[in-house]
Structures are given as structure tokens and as C-alpha cells.
């Protein structure tokens, strides 16, 4: 197969597969965070700031996959 075709397919596959796990992880973090806020509304500030931090960590993995996809496509 052509190098260009393989590059394009690899780019698409990298970001597609690489975003599955972070999406599930962010959904679970968010759901547990909201549940914690619902059980204890007074701690909403602390819970939500820890939740945002956790979401940023999980999102970073998706960003790694995106960076690799961009490197494959443009370098």
C-alpha cells in the first residue's frame, strides 16, 4: 500500500482508539464527582476542584494520542 494511505489510516486509527478510554474515564470521574456532591452539598467546592483535576489527568491521555496522530500526519 501507498505510504500516504497508511499514514492517513494510522492517523485516524490512533486518535479514534486513543480517545475511547479517556472518554469512559472522564464519564466515570464526573459521575462519581456528581454523586459525591449530591450526597454532601456542603463539600461541593472541594469535590469539584478535585474532580476537575482528575478530569484533566484523564484528558491528558487523549491529548497524548492526539499529539501522536498529528506527528504521524504532519512530520
Amino acid at each position: 500500500m501507498d505510504l500516504e494511505v497508511v499514514k492517513t489510516v494510522a492517523t485516524a486509527a490512533t486518535i479514534t482508539i486513543g480517545a475511547i478510554a479517556p472518554a469512559i474515564a472522564i464519564g466515570q470521574i464526573g459521575s462519581k464527582g456528581l454523586e459525591a456532591i449530591g450526597r454532601n452539598p456542603e463539600a461541593a467546592d472541594k469535590v469539584s476542584s478535585s474532580m476537575i483535576l482528575g478530569i484533566a489527568f484523564a484528558e491528558a491521555i487523549a491529548i497524548y494520542a492526539l499529539v501522536i496522530a498529528l506527528i504521524i500526519k504532519f512530520v
Binding site: 476537575i52 483535576l53 484533566a56 491529548i63
Partner: protein, 245 residues
């Protein structure tokens, strides 16, 4: 539509290549320095206008750092560099969204084609800037750890020869310090660079009205990434200044 992963050189001072992203970060630094000097001079009892806004931002950051660290003395030591990281990163991200940042450029001929090399580029869309910030952040964590508990105790976290399991865990901790550098830099770089590409693609497809929600998204992402960088550095500092169990 040309997208380049690396920042392009637009000028050179001697043998130092001035890229478009470092040009924008110089502009940000100058802007921050001038603002700080101008605002810091007035000292009325009741602040108003720009000074009021800046005091609001600083108070919010101080409260955030204080909530995590808890001790007021320690907060005063660690707050300046964390707030600087936050303000520098957020301002760089937002400057990259100003009108004219992409389109104004120099026409060059590369590989036989006419392309436009943008004169400015979001500073954090360049891996060099984010890697530099990440290295600064990680080295700052080490320095604060050593300053708080002494070299011997701090080194014991990584090189612990009392039993094989602790030695292995110490080695893992050492490797994880390096992986923190990589994760800091790639998180910031990936978010901002992908945002730039997103804006370019949307503007290419539907130039009228449709880019607006994406610009709002980028403003939000720029703020959140600065906040995350600061909070992560803060949490690592908090972990570094306590003694090992």
C-alpha cells in the same frame, strides 16, 4: 492550509533563531511587566479599576493555593511562582486567539510552493515553551522539597537502600519525576496546538459565524489548562514537602 508542528523561524539575532511563538511570548512578557509596573505604583487604600481587577485575580489564586497547602507561612513561600505560571500560561493562550495572529505573516517559498509563514503563533503551541515551563515546574518542586526537609531526607525518597521493595519504589518515583515533565509539557502543548488546528479547520470550512463557539471553547480551554498546570504543580509541591510516611 499549512499546518506545521514546529514553530517557524521568522527572524534571527546572530545565530539564535527567533520563531513566531517566542515572539508572542516576548510580547506577553513585556505586557505583563509593563502592567505590573504601572499598576503597582498607585497605592490608594481602596483600589479601583485595573488594580482592583488584578487584586481580585491574585486573591483568588492565593485562596486556591492556601486551601491546598493550609499553612499561611508556607503559602507565602510557594505562591509567587505558582501564580506566575498561571498568569503567564493563561495570557499566552489568550494572546494566541487575538485577531491577526494567524493571517499576518511573511510570504516565503518553501519546497517550491508559495506559503505564508505566520508572524505570530500561540506561545504554548510550540513544544519548546511548554517543555521549558514543565522543566521549570518540576525543578521548582525538587528545590522546594529540598528546602523544606533537607537534602538527606529528600534523597531518601528516591534512593532508599533499606530493603529491595523500597529501593524499587524509589526508582519508580525517580522515573515518575521525568514522566511528570513529559506529561506537563504534552498536556499543555496538545491542548493548545489542537485548539489552533481546530480553529483553522473550522475557519477554512465555514468562515462566517461558525467559528464563534469554537473561540469560546478555546478561551475556556486556555484558562482551564493554566489552572490545571498550576494545581498540578501545587499538588506535587505539597507531596514533596512532607516527610516520607
Amino acid at each position: 492550509m499549512e499546518i506545521s508542528l514546529a514553530a517557524e523561524k521568522v527572524a534571527h539575532i546572530g545565530s539564535f533563531n527567533v520563531t513566531n511563538s517566542i515572539l508572542l511570548s516576548w510580547i506577553t512578557t513585556t505586557f505583563l511587566a509593563i502592567t505590573a509596573i504601572v499598576v503597582g505604583r498607585k497605592n490608594d487604600l481602596v483600589p479601583k479599576g485595573l488594580r482592583n481587577f488584578i487584586e481580585m485575580v491574585i486573591e483568588y489564586l492565593y485562596k486556591t493555593v492556601n486551601d491546598v497547602i493550609g499553612d499561611e507561612q508556607k503559602t507565602k513561600k510557594y505562591f509567587p511562582i505558582l501564580a506566575t505560571l498561571f498568569i503567564f500560561i493563561v495570557l499566552n493562550n489568550w494572546m494566541g486567539l487575538l485577531p491577526g495572529i494567524g493571517p499576518i505573516g511573511i510570504n516565503e517559498i518553501k519546497h517550491g510552493k508559495h506559503i505564508l509563514v505566520p508572524l505570530f503563533r500561540g506561545a504554548n503551541a510550540d513544544l519548546n515553551t511548554t517543555l521549558a515551563l514543565a522543566i521549570i515546574a518540576v525543578i521548582t518542586v525538587q528545590v522546594f522539597g529540598v528546602a523544606a526537609i533537607g537534602v538527606a531526607k529528600y534523597a531518601k525518597k528516591f534512593f532508599n537502600f533499606s530493603n529491595p521493595i523500597k529501593f524499587f519504589v524509589g526508582g519508580l518515583e525517580l522515573i515518575s519525576e521525568f514522566s511528570k515533565m513529559i506529561s506537563f509539557s504534552f498536556r499543555l502543548f496538545g491542548n493548545i496546538f489542537a485548539g489552533e488546528i481546530l480553529l483553522m479547520v473550522i475557519a477554512y470550512l465555514v468562515p462566517v459565524v461558525a467559528p464563534l463557539p469554537f473561540f469560546l471553547l478555546e478561551i475556556f480551554v486556555g484558562l482551564i489548562q493554566g489552572l490545571v498546570f498550576m494545581m498540578l504543580a501545587l499538588v506535587f509541591i505539597k507531596g514533596a514537602i512532607v516527610e516520607h510516611h
